[in-house]
Every structure is written in structure tokens, then in C-alpha cells.
Subunit: 230 residues, 2 copies
């Protein structure tokens, strides 16, 4: 495809290019199973979410902080009666998450390959540094990106910095809160590609009023959308 303007197109990684949240959900199910003698799954998940929210300012995003929050929750809900063998299982679950194979989402490779020759592509992702690098390497998409930004938080100022010097900039992702809304605030487009699973801490209202807000059902529709805006 040919674009007349110089576009900088930024992609979120987890649950935009490849599945991620379902690995967290599987681990949460295992967590609930391990603690079933102490607490029911529903209240356990609420306590876990509280711990994650409380710890976000210390741990940031990613698997390591998630495992630490699970261990903390396990100790709390059992009033320190959780056996060490259960903690050992949680550590093992975390290690498995960090080695989990990458499963690309529909049309992810196709969209990135279509855009790479005519636009500057940047991966913008939160999470653990090493784990995100590992996933990008395993995805086989690494060479198609011109840059990788692993950031501790996705705010409007994050996108302002990343968009510097570009004629037109866009962020594509599954999180309204972290990908779409702050990108629009920073003066770029925000393209929402909903994923069936979204972490509760990423929920937000869609910015329907903005002319720079778009929603597509999968990445297959992205090249045509950009051609139309060009």
C-alpha cells in the first residue's frame, strides 16, 4: 500500500497482537482451585484485584507483580494458614506464564506486514521488560517494527513523547484506557480493537465524541482504515 503522509503507527502488544489475558485467566483459575478449601472463587478474585490495584504503584504491570499479588492474597484470605506447597505452585504458575508460547491474534501478522513498508511502526507496551522482549522475539514480528517502547505507564504524555516529529500518529490497541483515550488526548488517532477478555483495571468509556476515535473488530480492517484517513 502507498501512503502520501508520513505515518507513525503504534501498536499495543498484549491482546492486540497476541493473546495474553487468557494466560492470566488460566492462572487465576488455578489459583482459585488451589485455595478452594479456604475461600470461594468470586471473593478470592475480588481480593486479588484489590491487591493488584494497591500494588500497582510499587510493582507496575506484568507477570512478576501479578505473582507477588497472588501470594499476598493467598496469605491474606487464609489468615496465614496457606501451606508453603500452595505458594510453590503459584511460583511455578508464574514461571509457566513467563514461558508461555505466543499465539498471534487474527490478521495481526497480515496487518503489520501490510503497513511496515509504508509507515513507521512502533510497539508500545507495558509490563515486565524482559518478558515483553521475549514475547516480541517469539512473535516473529520484531523485525517489522522500527522501534519498541516498553513503558511503565501509558499516559497522554507518553504518547506525546512517542509521537514527536511524526506527521500523523496513531495508536492501535485493545485498551480504551491505556491505548485509545491517551493517544487521542496527545493529538493522535486512537483505534480500538476490542478483545473478548479485558482486565478490569483497563476498563473505560469509549471516547465516542472524538473524530479521531475508531473501532475495528480485528486488525484485518486496519490498513484500509489508514488508507481512508491518508
Amino acid at each position: 500500500m502507498n501512503l502520501s503522509d508520513r505515518w507513525r503507527i503504534c501498536f499495543d502488544a498484549d491482546d492486540t497482537l497476541w493473546h495474553n489475558e487468557r494466560v492470566f485467566r488460566m492462572t487465576q483459575e488455578r489459583f482459585a482451585e488451589l485455595l478452594r478449601d479456604f475461600v470461594e472463587a468470586g471473593p478470592l478474585m475480588e481480593r486479588l484485584l484489590e491487591a493488584e490495584r494497591r500494588n500497582l504503584g510499587h510493582y507496575g504491570y506484568g507477570v512478576k507483580g501479578f505473582v507477588l499479588s497472588m501470594i499476598e492474597t493467598a496469605i491474606e484470605v487464609t489468615e496465614e494458614r496457606v501451606p508453603a506447597s500452595v505458594i510453590a505452585e503459584l511460583l511455578a504458575a508464574g514461571q509457566e506464564m513467563l514461558a508461555h508460547p505466543i499465539d498471534l491474534l487474527p490478521h495481526a501478522r497480515e496487518a503489520v506486514e501490510a503497513l511496515a513498508p509504508s509507515a513507521e511502526l512502533i510497539l508500545v507496551t507495558k509490563g515486565d521488560l524482559l518478558d515483553q522482549e521475549r514475547k516480541l522475539a517469539q512473535s516473529g514480528l520484531g523485525d517489522l517494527f522500527d522501534g519498541v517502547e516498553i513503558v511503565s505507564e501509558k499516559r497522554a504524555e507518553t504518547y506525546r513523547r512517542i509521537y514527536e516529529g511524526a506527521d500523523r500518529a496513531m495508536m492501535v490497541g485493545n485498551s480504551l484506557k491505556s491505548d485509545v483515550i491517551p493517544s487521542i488526548e496527545a493529538g493522535g488517532w486512537g483505534v480500538h480493537v476490542p478483545h473478548e477478555l479485558t482486565w478490569d483495571l483497563e476498563a473505560a468509556e469509549p471516547p465516542e465524541a472524538s473524530p479521531r476515535f475508531f473501532q475495528i473488530s480485528d486488525l484485518g480492517a486496519l490498513p484500509a482504515l489508514i488508507l481512508g484517513l491518508d
Copy 2:
């Protein structure tokens, strides 16, 4: 000071600009104290180091991985008899590490302030993304740096990328293995500022044969060293 060449001077952060390893050592002492009924301090530290080395490929560097390795070691050495209350203490110790105030090393501010007007300064550090950003912000040195690179590993190729486009480049740090040797391999200078405490996994032989290797006792000597090379 005035420099005739365009220098890119890179600084390591932990135990180069501010104390860090001593916070780890304090936590390790607490760890040994918590497990004293099960195992002696010496063998415990050996087991912890083994766990850290084994987990490095999954967890990378930083406090979160260190806490996970402590918990794993506690479970191992007690053959799953460690009480949950001890695990809770380890989690609390990790949270304290992540909130520990920054204590600059002698002459760190002075050297950075002297060089900032006449050279490009880049911070190059491993560790947890959010934690390293927090420490830089608290150090009060953030505005003096032109760039910050938080990397998952410091190899020659890391420095080759960071040194791209610079006339002359230098890395200054307390780790021969991660700061000095790979910088020299990448074609830059490597300046060693030894710290009294160095993590066992960072040990290496000094590259005495290289004309681009220097050692200074503290950062106060750095500006004069660079003036002499300019």
C-alpha cells in the same frame, strides 16, 4: 568545562550514582534472620544465589524477581515447612525495598552537573522499569540526563546501539561485567568506579590490557579524566 568533541557519556545507576546493593544486603540479613530456625545464613545465601542465577532468564533483574527468588528459596530450604507469616515478611521487605529512599554516592551530583552542559548524558540501567524510573525521579538528577535506557541486559550490542551517532562514547559504572567490559567491546571507553559491595553475579576480571579502560575511586575524578581524553 569545555569539550571539543561531541561526547556521549553513559552512567550506570545502581551503586554508581546511588547506593543500591546495601538495600539488598539488608534484606538478605532479614531473610537469614527469618529462616534461622531452619538453616544457617551461609548455606541460605548460597541457595538464594543459585535461585537468582537460575531465574535470571525468566525474571530479569530487579527487586520483584529477587523477592520471588527469596520466597522460592525459603520454601526449598525448609522443605515446604516455612510458615506463611515468614512469606508475608518477605513480601513486606520487597515493598520496603521498592520505597527505599535514594542516597546519592559521593560526588555523583557534582560530576553529573559538571558534565551535563557540555556532553550528552544517558542513564543506562537494568532492573524493574517502574522502580528505576522512581529512583531516578527521587535522585533529583533526572533533568540532567538527555536520555534514559532501561535495558534487560547490558551486552556489547546494547552499547553499540546506544553509542550510534556519537563521536566519542563512554560508560561509567561499578560493574566490570555489565558496564565496563561490554562498553569497551562496543568501541567506547569503560570507566570503572568500584563500589564496596558488588553482587556476585556481576563479578569479572578487569580488562587491564585495554587502553580504553580506566578506574577511578569516585565520580569526583570523572570530569578531569574526560577533559584529559578530549
